[in-house]
Amino acid sequence: MAMALGSAALAAGAADPVLRVIAAVGPERLGAFGLSAEGLRQDCDRDALCAARSIVAGDARARLAQTPPPDTDRIRWARSLPSVAEVALLGDGRGLIRLERFGRKAGRELRAGLEGLAETRWDGRLLLDLRRHRGGDLGRMLRVAGHFTGAVPAALRLQGEAPQPLDIPERSWRAEVTALTLLVGPETASSAEILAALLRRHAGARVLGARTAGKDYLHRIVPIVQGWQLYLPAETVAVPGETLAGGLLPDGPLPPGVAP
């Protein structure tokens, strides 16, 4: 069956939600999930959630996520979930910031944390703790990186169907630290481990702890129906000079004075 693609298919999705899912995934990619457009339409009729579940069943890296109920306070960004979970001054004068998310206010929270440390007897050395960071939005991660590195063209590469270099953007302020150490572990995943690789490469950071999770590919979000999103495996990420596949190897174990 000849099927319209791209925006035409998306327009048709108004009448056929399954067609919308097929168009978003790309009919040519369905074979990778052991599916065909015709088969999906036959099996699922107009049930987009059924189509998404079939895709997830065909690739363990894909997942279906239920989104939280919409909430006006949430969408107004004012009450964005916190990204910085802890700011602490250690006994030897080092500062520690535990970053657990790349929320919409991550950069602002980071700056507030650094300003808070600057008001103490902080000696300028910073431990950025990523051990519980499971990753998140790629663009926000790059913006956080920019606070430590400044602009870096082609700092990473997306490889796959749409290969492209991605830059670390210039930021309006820079983190003033005398030494940067990143704490990582097996829960440090995806864009968090990419951040660690980028900062080791471009900000002279030391990476300490244990090997990271090794999730070196992106997901792309495909809204399915109200309340459900398909996370579709997409491009792999490469940081030139670093190896993400199998997990980022640290430069050494956790430093003394840091809780395991």
């Binding site: 109920p69 107004r76 919409r104 991660m141």
Partner: protein, 396 residues
């Protein structure tokens, strides 16, 4: 009774007034309250006290508070039929109040979390987005009934009618496209892609809770173009609203909120909350003509005084950031005594009213002199917006 320009009719969106039953007039109400001259009044939905404050714009004083349902989000004034409608998000209802006899009110049960509303250019058809259900309700304010319910939306946020009222464009907060509804058929007829899919790099749960799609489709007065920013991108899509095709992308600052049109339609102003700037876009050239300093957590933009000035509402810094639209340059700031939400400019462009949720006030700003001239106290608990018939109203 009222003869308002069509331009304004199509964009008239007022804030909440949810009617949980009786209308309780405050002690301040003089005699039998009637607000038939609705163009004179400012309507302020109060989320926490579940009522709507009515302010007389001639005296800038509180006239009364009309009790509505729980967590009123937005109010619409349908002056052609002399009614006020409030969306009661927490009750899943709307309240329809006869402005000539506010004690006569109706409550309509809709779908889950009715929130944003838009009055059609006929002044009778009201579209209500049920954000929690992914549906849009179409109401007739002649009969005060829900005449259709359309599904297939993704967290429908702000709604925009075409100038002739035949089409309704729905901004999907939970997706990357604009949905188009044929109003007469009450059917979804197209979906206009705004951006490609959003890339995330996360293991397991983590990123989805802050996904922000499309807040609003802001159209030019002639209805030709729509401007839609995507909350996870750094650009604004210009959409041909007649052919349903994307014309171009315009690069903006980081994490744009939505486009706000000047009353004359010459410019679109977009607050970028990520880098705290404001992009000014020429609607004739379809390009950014200025990028100016903004502030933290910007929730709205109001223009006025012959479109010479824009006031950007900063919820994060309790102030208005002023932009001179002639010089295309910063023009100072106005500190506010409470946390601002959104504002409305009077149709003559002279005054700006801003709801201050943190201090239960409404601020009154003279846009000619660019000064705060008054605060109106005790308007209710957590005032959320301000609405005026015939004005360029907007909601969060």
């Amino acid at each position: 009774m009222f003869d308002l320009p069509t331009l304004f009719r199509s964009t008239r969106v007022i804030s909440p007034v949810a009617l949980a039953g009786a209308i309780a007039l405050s002690a301040g109400a003089a005699g039998a309250a009637s607000f038939e001259d609705s163009g004179r009044y400012i309507f302020v939905p109060n989320r926490a006290s579940a009522d709507v404050a009515v302010i007389d714009s001639r005296t800038d004083s509180l006239v009364t508070r009309i009790q509505v349902g729980n967590v009123p989000h937005q109010v619409v004034i349908a002056d052609r039929v002399g009614k006020m409608v409030a969306s009661n998000t927490d009750d899943n209802t709307v309240s329809i109040v006869d402005l000539a006899a506010p004690e006569r009110a109706k409550t309509l049960m809709l779908d889950v979390e009715p929130e944003h509303m838009e009055l059609g250019p006929d002044g009778i058809t009201l579209a209500v987005g049920n954000i929690g259900a992914g549906t849009v309700s179409l109401l007739s304010l002649h009969t005060d009934r829900e005449i259709a319910r359309i599904d297939g939306l993704f967290e429908p946020h702000n709604l925009t009618f075409s100038p002739d009222g035949s089409l309704l464009y729905v901004a999907n907060l939970g997706a990357d496209h604009i949905s188009v509804i044929d109003v007469a058929e009450a059917a979804l007829i197209s979906e206009i892609p705004v951006v490609g899919s959003t890339p995330v790099a996360a293991a397991g749960e983590g990123a989805e809770e802050e996904y922000q799609g499309i807040i609003n489709v802001t159209r030019t007065p002639d209805g030709r173009f729509g401007f839609a920013a995507h909350g996870e991108g750094n650009s604004l899509a210009v959409v041909d609203l007649r052919s349903f095709g994307k014309v171009k992308n315009i690069d903006l600052g980081e994490l744009p909120w939505r486009a706000f049109s000047t009353a004359d339609g010459r410019y679109m102003l977009v607050p970028n909350n990520g880098d705290e700037t404001v992009s000014v876009i020429s609607t004739s050239r379809l390009e950014v003509v200025a990028t100016l300093p903004g502030a933290e957590d910007m929730t709205g933009v109001n223009t006025g005084w012959f479109e010479t000035v824009a006031a950007v509402v900063s919820r994060g810094e309790d102030k208005l950031v002023l932009i001179d639209l002639i010089e295309m340059a910063p023009a100072g700031e106005i500190a506010l005594p409470g946390t601002p939400e959104t504002g409305v400019t009077t149709p003559d462009g002279r005054k700006l009213y801003v709801a201050l949720s943190g201090s239960d006030q409404v601020a009154v700003v003279d846009l000619k002199t660019r000064t705060l001239v008054k605060t109106i106290d005790d308007v209710g608990e957590e005032p959320w917006g301000v609405t005026m018939a015939g004005a360029l109203n907007y909601c969060h």
